[in-house]
Symmetry: C2
Subunit: 531 residues, 2 copies
């Protein structure tokens, strides 16, 4: 029997009742209404607490049954043993969604597990969706509903996130915010009494506000159903998963956390791949992938071009791409001839394209454009093109200002001579702006200074991606996370923090694109043969 769900009302409730609402700072019953009010939820809020006349200034009702109007979502933060009575009242009142924050259920085994079964049975009979128990709560951007029992402020966006760990989930929301990643929905599954990750996944699959789905999964009760539901979504939306409980110690840790049974991982892993699910290796990678899949076009093959300002980074990237099973694109002769006049004589003349620290910014733009337009290239990893504010503010400024200060100390004569020298050099640099010294480093062309900004490069990359439909992943080793995040948030350009992480993202983009081509191929074939 499949229960009728009212997920639309869960994520867009017209009214919320908080059972166990409290005035006492730090308690779940305090944080939840604080977040709901502070988050800007516009529906009605009812506080339920038999021991208080008012909670946070709102009138408090002795019980859920006493709330005079209909309730779309009841949030429960009272000791476990009192929860069945609330579910009974919810059933009577016609509440279809009950979110149980309380712990002390199946995750502790014994009596707790018994209690959870009882609650689930009552809920099943009444057609109530139980979120939890032992959940941190939910978030829904389109309803401004921040129903989470922890200090957190998710950024609204298009990633739907279901997590079998509330604490991990909530911290990922904050981490996501710091990286500029916004969320449409979040659900902490808790113990999944009668509603589990697969149910939420199915909802997010059809949710028009969710474009990328993110899952943290320790174990699923019905693996077959999970894979079926996921398979029906992956041809339309990327589904990214972090699966834990892989080893023996890990499985035990899962059991005492969410109480889920983690099966043999290798088997599940193979099935996930077949279903087109994108598997992250680490928590950090979860966010990398969610960000990348939110904004990047998919590559039409596996041939990668690597652009770098220094050979070492090219080698690091090549190693990492090889580990992902990707190929370095073979660059055609005419491309090399096209670039040749603009680069120092000792440039690499092959992929990775090593600009050997060339300080003519125009050649960075030129190489990037030529590689993106090249038919032999499906995807680009571009290192040394982003610099970040701290590069200019700290490194370049200190290189410029510190000698000045030292000269100042040597006396006015030295300072004046120093300034005259630089003025002469700068004049000469502008005079030579047309030609580049092919034997040496050439120096900076001051007339193209504006091109050195990350803003100019961002526009260039976004333009190329749009016109050519190919993913470009800039890498910014020396940029602060803050600048990278700000750029992602403002302009939607994903920047990898290291070439290794760029390669991981590239691998997943290529594999998912391949999966999509295969599955649409199958569909067309199925259509032809009338299946």
């Amino acid at each position: 029997m499949v229960m009728e769900r009212h997920f639309e009302r869960l994520f867009h409730p017209r009214s919320v009742a908080i059972v166990g609402a409290s005035n006492q700072p730090g308690k779940w019953g305090f944080l939840l209404p604080m977040n709901i009010i502070g988050g800007g939820y516009r529906g009605k809020v009812y506080m339920v607490n038999p021991g208080e006349r008012r909670v946070l200034g709102f009138a408090a009702y002795p019980s859920l049954a006493d709330v005079p109007e209909p309730v779309d979502l009841a949030v429960v933060a009272i000791p476990a043993r009192k929860v069945p009575e609330v579910v009974r009242q919810a059933a009577e009142k016609g509440v279809r969604n009950v979110l149980v924050v309380s712990s002390n259920f199946s995750e502790v085994g014994g009596e707790g597990a018994e209690l959870e079964r009882k609650v689930a049975e009552m809920a099943d009979r009444a057609g109530i969706t139980i979120v939890g128990p032992n959940t941190m709560g939910i978030y829904s951007s389109t309803a401004n509903l921040l129903c989470i029992g922890a200090p957190v402020r998710p950024l609204p966006g298009k990633v739907g996130f279901v997590s079998q760990s509330g604490n991990l989930g909530v911290q990922m929301l904050t981490w996501g915010r710091r990286r500029g990643l916004g969320f449409s929905r979040f659900v902490g599954c808790g113990n999944s009494a009668n509603t589990d990750v697969t149910d939420y996944l199915a909802y997010l699959g059809d949710d028009p506000h969710t474009e990328v789905i993110l899952l943290y999964v320790e174990g699923v009760k019905d693996g077959r159903r999970f894979l079926e539901v996921a398979s029906s979504i992956t041809p339309r939306k990327p589904v990214i998963i972090l699966k834990t409980g892989k080893g023996e110690q890990g499985k035990k840790a899962v059991l005492s956390h969410s109480g889920a049974l983690a099966g043999p991982y290798e088997l599940f892993r193979g099935a996930m791949r077949q279903a087109g699910i994108i598997e992250a290796e680490t928590t950090e990678e979860m966010l990398d992938l969610a960000m990348a899949f939110s904004v990047l076009p998919l590559p039409s093959g596996e041939r990668v071009a690597v652009l770098t300002l220094g050979g070492g980074w090219g080698v690091v990237a090549t190693d990492a791409l090889e580990r992902e099973g990707l190929k370095l694109a073979e660059l055609p002769t005419d491309l090399i001839q096209e670039l040749d006049p603009h680069l120092p004589v000792f440039w690499s003349r092959k992929n990775p394209v090593d600009l050997v620290g060339n300080a003519r910014r125009s050649s960075h733009f030129l190489a990037l454009e030529a590689l993106t337009r090249c038919d032999e290239v499906d995807l680009l990893v571009a290192m040394g093109v982003m610099f970040g504010a701290n590069y200019w503010l700290e490194d370049v400024l200190s290189t410029t200002v510190r000698p000045f200060l030292r000269m100042l100390r040597r006396g006015p004569g030295a300072l004046v001579r120093y300034q005259l020298s630089i003025a002469r050099g700068a004049r000469r640099s502008v005079g030579k702006s047309g030609k580049s010294s092919r034997e040496g480093s050439g120096g900076v062309n001051l007339l193209e200074a504006w091109r050195w900004s990350d803003r100019a490069m961002t526009r260039k990359i976004l333009g190329l991606m749009k016109s050519m439909g190919k993913p470009i992943i800039p890498v910014a080793v020396n940029e602060s996370e803050f600048s990278t995040s700000l750029r992602f948030r403002r302009s939607g350009l994903f920047t990898a923090m290291t070439p290794e992480r760029a390669a991981r993202v590239a691998g997943h983009l290529v594999r998912y694109a391949h999966f999509l081509r295969e599955s649409s191929g199958r569909e067309r074939q199925d259509g032809k043969t009338g299946k």
Copy 2:
């Protein structure tokens, strides 16, 4: 024939001559003296440029030979074909260290390789150490010598770093600075004409200012000698390496970068392990390891205790530790009984110790202390104990302030009622401070607010590490890199950015500690049998 080296003069030169010094911004010949002057170098600086009367305000000499006084280090930034003449003059003048920034040597093959051989032969005959060619330069903290041709400002410290890629090396210096990691020396090997990574490694092994050695290696000419030298150092100092050029494409990329031949990686890898060399997987991990090995005591076994505020992170950490081959410590019954009264009834009662979001800070301190003192535990990974300024400033503040603002909009009546409610709750919270509600979340004890600061926790962790001699790795998923770095720089507490990265560090600590025990065991045995 082993050449006599004058590395002490390379890293502490009394005078530096810059051949090719330039007034033109962006050129190597401009950046190098700017950095040398700006870095606060106190020895003598001579500018050499036949086309200028003054460079950066200093008198310019037409050639190295024209410099009237002795030169300890000659820095060369002129086209490759002119370099042999400079080396000839250096030999004549008795300069023992020549740093060649110029490119266009063996990395381009053919004539360039021929030129490099010629330079190396001349240098060998004259007993000159050639740094490079094709190097970014060197840094020496104790001489304030920032002889690097790129905008960079390394933090002084105790990590000695040799890199076969200058660009990568320099960016790692900046990245290190951002993470609070300081360096004693840096050398970009360049093409290693007559001096390679092994020579520098040997010097750093005996350098009293270097406590941890970091290497970026694409390939070594004499693998056996490299391993011998490394083996003689690893029992005294940790040697951390990032080895690239692992796969086929990677090897090709190496060839066109540093011109080194990367041999079969798997063989080399095994030999490195035997030599006690610590191998980083990624550039990011290089810094993690350099930081961790700079400050952490070594564990006496492989049994790890995991402390977490939420079960999910515990599972993630367990998976990652298992991947490293580490064991979760079995917690003795008396430890569990000791913690039991201070934690909610539904706490895990095993390792990982899940504090289940407990908001009594005293119990975090208590659990940390009990686990560190426990004889069954060799190493700790502690999640959820660091919060970072942005947690308080952004998350907690917004949870507190935003509802206030919403209430303000509802009118003065609602605001006053809201404030009265919270005042009542806070009073009650303080009144109950002695006992903790074991069924619920208990709420925050306002009397222990000071303990929630990262500063208090830092002191606690540093104190425990010192008294027990065990490594504790706090994890700060939701802290900005900035706060974590500041703490490392100020107090020397290493914080991992994710549990996965903590596990990698833990794995390396355990393996290196094991290597040290084995090698000192061998030594003792050798001593006994009179070998």
